[in-house]
């Protein structure tokens, strides 16, 4: 009989960087190879995406967006993870990764047209190696794994990041994809943004187990880390990515964080959660923490911080005005254009009739 407990992760390059509690060790923090400019860049990105988040919420309140899903509090994950990847490593997001998309260079105003109801996918995923948003929870995880399997078949050394929430780990697709990742040793980093809530369902009602600890059951390592530490996220994703690039297969990272906003602008969290919880997590705000660390290291002075804040204001202004100026595509195009590459005859006729019917209006 085989041993009951399988030993996994002797090749685990992530765990040594972290304490048992999932905190980046002090020596690892200094060994990331990031110079002052790079460290400041992480800060700037967090400021920018938080400002964008706030601006989008404002726009939603002004009726300019149909919906907004804040990522307030999760910026360290968005910024740290993207910074740890190469530009051609594909990212498969769920629906809350606006910040990640911005870090990849997707135009925020263009991306907001998704939330404005103008497009199901305003950016070209190939240009940014950033897949479309996936609304049905967890369904993107098999895509990430399949893409990574493809990278392996191609002999390419790019890796894939698939990211999802804590709620997503309850779905069958999540499990099946984890298992495929293990079997095919796919070069994929599976990044759980455990923000403690799935709409109104708290983590304890979502699962009685541990998400990170599930990885060995699929034949690869996993770790739970502090998701509010941008350097910790960077370190974990980079180490996992290097491992995957070397051909050692998948890695599961459970980044513990907190959804400081509502689930979306349609949600009212006062119905289900205590203010005190929010207070506790506010004290762990990823940006404030990182700012004081940066300042303590002498990497960020007041002038630099102010310049970054100004850059964020400019970005927000542009985002606002460019969103307002976004010109909706003609209806025929928006509804029919991208359904088929080779549209069937009856489909073309239906489109033509539709477009003809609009001419009068």
């Amino acid at each position: 009989m085989a041993d009951v407990v399988q030993v996994v992760g002797t090749d685990d390059p992530v765990r040594p960087l972290f304490t048992a509690a999932g905190e980046l060790k002090a020596d690892a923090r200094n060994g990331l190879g990031l110079d002052a400019a790079a460290l400041r860049d992480l800060y700037q990105k967090m400021i920018l995406i938080r400002r964008a988040d706030q601006e989008a919420l404002n726009l939603q309140r002004q009726g300019e967006l149909g919906l907004w899903g804040q990522y307030l509090g999760q910026e360290a994950i968005h910024v740290g993870a993207v910074a740890a990847l190469e530009a051609n490593d594909w990212i498969f997001p769920s629906y809350r990764e606006f910040g990640m998309a911005m870090c990849r260079g997707v135009d925020p105003a263009e991306m907001l047209t998704w939330f404005r109801g103008l497009s199901h996918g305003p950016w070209d995923p190939r240009k940014y190696a950033f897949a479309p948003l996936a609304v049905p929870v967890a369904t993107q995880v098999p895509h990430a794994v399949g893409f990574a399997m493809g990278s392996r078949l191609r002999g390419s050394d790019d890796v894939v990041l698939g990211t999802f929430g804590d709620g997503a780990t309850s779905k069958g697709d999540w499990h099946e994809a984890m298992n495929f990742a293990g079997v095919f040793k796919a070069p994929v980093i599976l990044l759980c943004q455990n923000n403690h809530w799935a709409i109104s369902v708290p983590l304890a009602k979502q699962t009685a187990g541990s998400i990170a600890e599930r990885a060995p059951g699929y034949g690869f390592p996993g770790i739970r880390i502090d998701g509010n530490d941008v350097l910790g996220v960077f370190a974990a994703v980079r180490a996992a990515a290097e491992r995957a690039r070397r051909g050692d297969g998948p890695y599961l990272i459970e980044a513990m964080t907190y959804r400081m906003g509502a689930h979306t602008s349609s949600d009212d969290p006062t119905r289900y959660r205590l203010d005190s919880e929010l207070q506790t997590w506010s004290a762990k705000d990823p940006i404030a923490r990182y700012r004081s660390w940066l300042q303590g290291q002498g990497h960020l002075d007041d002038a630099a911080a102010a310049a970054i804040d100004r850059a964020a204001e400019t970005m927000a202004e542009q985002m606002r005005s460019r969103l307002r100026a976004a010109v909706p595509a003609p209806a025929g195009e928006a509804i029919f254009d991208r359904v088929y590459e080779r549209p069937p005859g009856p489909f073309i006729e239906e489109r033509e009739e539709f477009e003809a019917s609009l001419e009068g209006t």
């Binding site: 149909g66 919906l67 629906y95 998704w114 939330f115 404005r116 109801g117 103008l118 497009s119 199901h120 609304v135 049905p136 929870v137 709620g167 997503a168 309850s170 779905k171 069958g172 697709d173 799935a198 709409i199 109104s200 369902v201 009602k205 979502q206 699962t207 349609s266 949600d267 119905r271 289900y272 909706p328 209806a331 928006a334 509804i335 029919f336 359904v339 009856p346 489909f347 239906e350 539709f354 609009l358």
Partner: protein, 322 residues
């Protein structure tokens, strides 16, 4: 009684079902503390406790799967699927088990699956689907869709009381429609309703398109065209006698739903009318529905979905036929 919204009527119906039968259980994502993303289950957990109204993990297939197990244990489960677009991952449990379990066990499956459906709410992708045709084609299920608060109340009572599985489609765009309801009126599954009498043509609708059909009838009236509107309420079984009775008068029919026309439930209705009513028809049965394309970004939903103009055009064609 005060006029209530359809959302409230469904809430009351669940409340009365929970109060009237200890075996009734309500569960799904966010139905407990939050009271559902549409507040349909508001307050129910408070009244009936966490054992009878409970939140589940985020897993539609197993939300339905446990309903089967609970039904075997003697319960009367009323699971909620949060949005139409998320029922697909539960499809296997519904088609392979909910619909067929009695057939292999002799044990009834009094499961009512509530699904808010349809568009016109300005939502992002996957929140505006009309998947009813996938279920009407599944033998072993009953499928209903109310169009008014009163029918929503009564039909849900009938669905929960029914010993067989019922897919209960709620037209979410009509959740805030108000009317007085009479909780003692019964609406049996399988009975359509003539929502408006008329003589020129019959418009057949269900769920969200019923009020659209009524609007079309009002507009037509101004042009001296008299439309009869049938609210199917029950899709499977389908109330053909009510439909044919109407065609005896009008000889013309237009079917309206939000789902794409191709392969949609309107095809079944049209095929059946064209068969059973072959000699009655003076014009082809017209179908007005969503485009044969995925549901578009919300800015375009009004153009994608049937509207009064498209119904009236179809009526005009039918009237001019011959």
């Amino acid at each position: 009684m005060e006029p209530v919204t359809m959302a409230k009527a469904i809430n009351l119906s669940l409340r009365d079902a929970l109060a009237g039968d200890e075996q009734v259980l309500v569960f799904g994502e966010d139905v407990g503390t939050l009271g559902g993303v549409f507040r349909i289950t508001d307050g129910l957990q408070k009244t009936f406790g966490v054992d009878r109204v409970f939140d589940t993990p985020l897993a539609e297939s197993t939300i339905i799967g446990i309903a089967v197990g609970l039904a075997l244990r003697g319960f009367r489960p009323v699971p909620e699927i949060q949005f139409d677009g998320f029922v697909y991952s539960a499809f296997d449990q519904i088609v392979s088990h909910v619909a067929k379990y009695r057939n292999r066990s002799g044990i009834s499956m009094p499961i009512t699956i509530r699904i808010p459906f349809g568009g016109h709410i300005g939502a992002v992708e996957h929140h505006s689907e009309s998947p009813e045709a996938y279920f009407t084609h599944t033998a072993g299920l009953k499928v209903v869709a109310p169009a008014t608060p009163g029918d929503a109340y009564a039909l849900l009572r009938s669905a929960i009381a029914d010993p067989d599985p019922v897919i209960f489609f709620e037209p979410k765009a009509r959740y805030y429609m108000k009317e007085e309801i009479n909780p003692s009126l019964e609406v049996p599954i399988g009975s359509a309703r003539v929502a408006r009498e008329g003589s020129g043509a019959t418009v057949i609708a269900y769920g969200p398109t019923v009020s659209l059909a009524l609007d079309a009838a009002s507009a037509a009236e101004k042009e001296n065209i008299s439309l009869e509107v049938i609210d199917l309420r029950s899709l499977s079984p389908l109330d053909m006698p009510t439909i044919l009775a109407s065609l005896q008068k009008t000889h013309r029919a237009v079917v309206v739903h939000e789902a794409p026309v191709f392969g949609g439930f309107g095809g079944e209705i049209a095929a059946r009318i064209s068969d059973d009513g072959f000699d009655l028809l003076e014009a082809p049965v017209a179908r007005v529905g969503g485009m044969d394309a995925p549901y578009p970004p919300s800015r375009y939903e009004k153009l994608y979905l049937p509207d009064v103009d498209r119904i009236l055009e179809a009526v005009d064609v039918a009237l001019a036929y011959g």
